[in-house]
Subunit: 149 residues, 4 copies
Amino acid sequence: MTEYPAFAQPVEIRWSDQDLMGHVNNARILTLVEESRILWLRSLNGWDRDINPTVVVRTEINYRKPVMYGPELVIELGVGRIGGSSYGITFRGIQEEAVVFDGVNVLVGVDPVKLTPRQLSESELGILNRFGTFDPEAPTDLTAEPVSR
Amino acid sequence: MTEYPAFAQPVEIRWSDQDLMGHVNNARILTLVEESRILWLRSLNGWDRDINPTVVVRTEINYRKPVMYGPELVIELGVGRIGGSSYGITFRGIQEEAVVFDGVNVLVGVDPVKLTPRQLSESELGILNRFGTFDPEAPTDLTAEPVSR
Amino acid sequence: MTEYPAFAQPVEIRWSDQDLMGHVNNARILTLVEESRILWLRSLNGWDRDINPTVVVRTEINYRKPVMYGPELVIELGVGRIGGSSYGITFRGIQEEAVVFDGVNVLVGVDPVKLTPRQLSESELGILNRFGTFDPEAPTDLTAEPVSR
Amino acid sequence: MTEYPAFAQPVEIRWSDQDLMGHVNNARILTLVEESRILWLRSLNGWDRDINPTVVVRTEINYRKPVMYGPELVIELGVGRIGGSSYGITFRGIQEEAVVFDGVNVLVGVDPVKLTPRQLSESELGILNRFGTFDPEAPTDLTAEPVSR
């Protein structure tokens, strides 16, 4: 059984996250996603990001609707494609029952000292394989079934 | 003849752009790209972003090397795929003669009042069609020829 | 009877609020204070910041202890000196039962169109006069009595 | 002879430094001041902030005019009161020949390991004593003579 979402939590938008356009700035949205990802990784038993760091090597994001200051924003995380040294964390922002953005961060495990890529550990793979993602063919469909492995 | 880059300018990295990892934060890099894009659009004769606004609907970025505080960072911009109402602005960050990140912002023209998608104007298409991009098949090759239309 | 605090609420610190020193950046702390101030003003009945805007003209802040990512941070607000067109909002950040910073923002009422200073309205004065502040002679004393008017 | 300013350099304002009010955000201005201060300290021979760190313990800032995106902003630094373990760095932002903000950061030397206050070294005092500040009685007078020690 694949769990989805791996993590879902409201994040506090600040007034200063808005730009001149009157909604949350595009780049700032990735800061909100980063915060969710860090909170999730910190919450996982057996995941030690100081010993086994991973770094973001690629991000894709679709901005589907303006994100507003005021209404609650929930960010859902899932786990996408898992390789030998890399894995994807998918994310989806939901505000007022609509998907306002979705995308994926690709992360790579690195050696804590040399910062060169390393194989993901058994413990990391064990954790990641528990989770699925929303259907990447229909990422804005809130009723989509999570994709199983 | 296709011009490339459409714009290339150093951007000032701030000490506070660094995160705990000791290099420029991933999300903050998109703020630097945003700044380059805005400076470029403001520099174009005949491009009036107040009258004909465009909004970012999608971003892809590859983080290829850590971006450091200190050495000069130049961001090069190009123009990617152009559609009826959308266009891509490609970007490439260069620090110490290496490509440190590259990617694309997809923008869509919107009606200034209703914010619904609109066709790009003749004037916008005329400007965009002057420029090419680095070879997307070889984005980190600094000697790559710009792709012509 | 003077009420104190006028507002007290936890604010979410983000991982990215930390700087290279490993604690929340000095300048960013003012962003957290700004967020509290805006949430408070929005919560007040009869205070309409769009009709009667006020702008910050002066800030004083004492950084008493490093603010850490992780433990809850509560920001308490009070009302300091009130003049004809200006007023002070005092603030105090509390983390793990210690005052980690304290200070004051001085705000001035401005005309919504001309942005020139204006007298505070009866309604604004009525609201502000309800609240006191922590004892400015003993700002880090958590047991200090609020100063009455 | 007292030198003033100790440092004066334009800083690049970013479009994203603006807030909904249409000018550079109050808190963000302190980030610009921080950047100037760090550039200055790094430029000083004999000042080694890794070996002899100093931390900001207090900030005062007056916001005198809105800071706009577009025109050049120069930040001037001076040295204020010097104590046994602390010193003030005064700052003044100038845009279109007007003082747009001014203030002071108070810094304290700390032990690099224990982070407890330490006496300023002879080398630090020698550097700091070379510089004066703008007249604190007339901080917005651009013709004011620097205050000598």
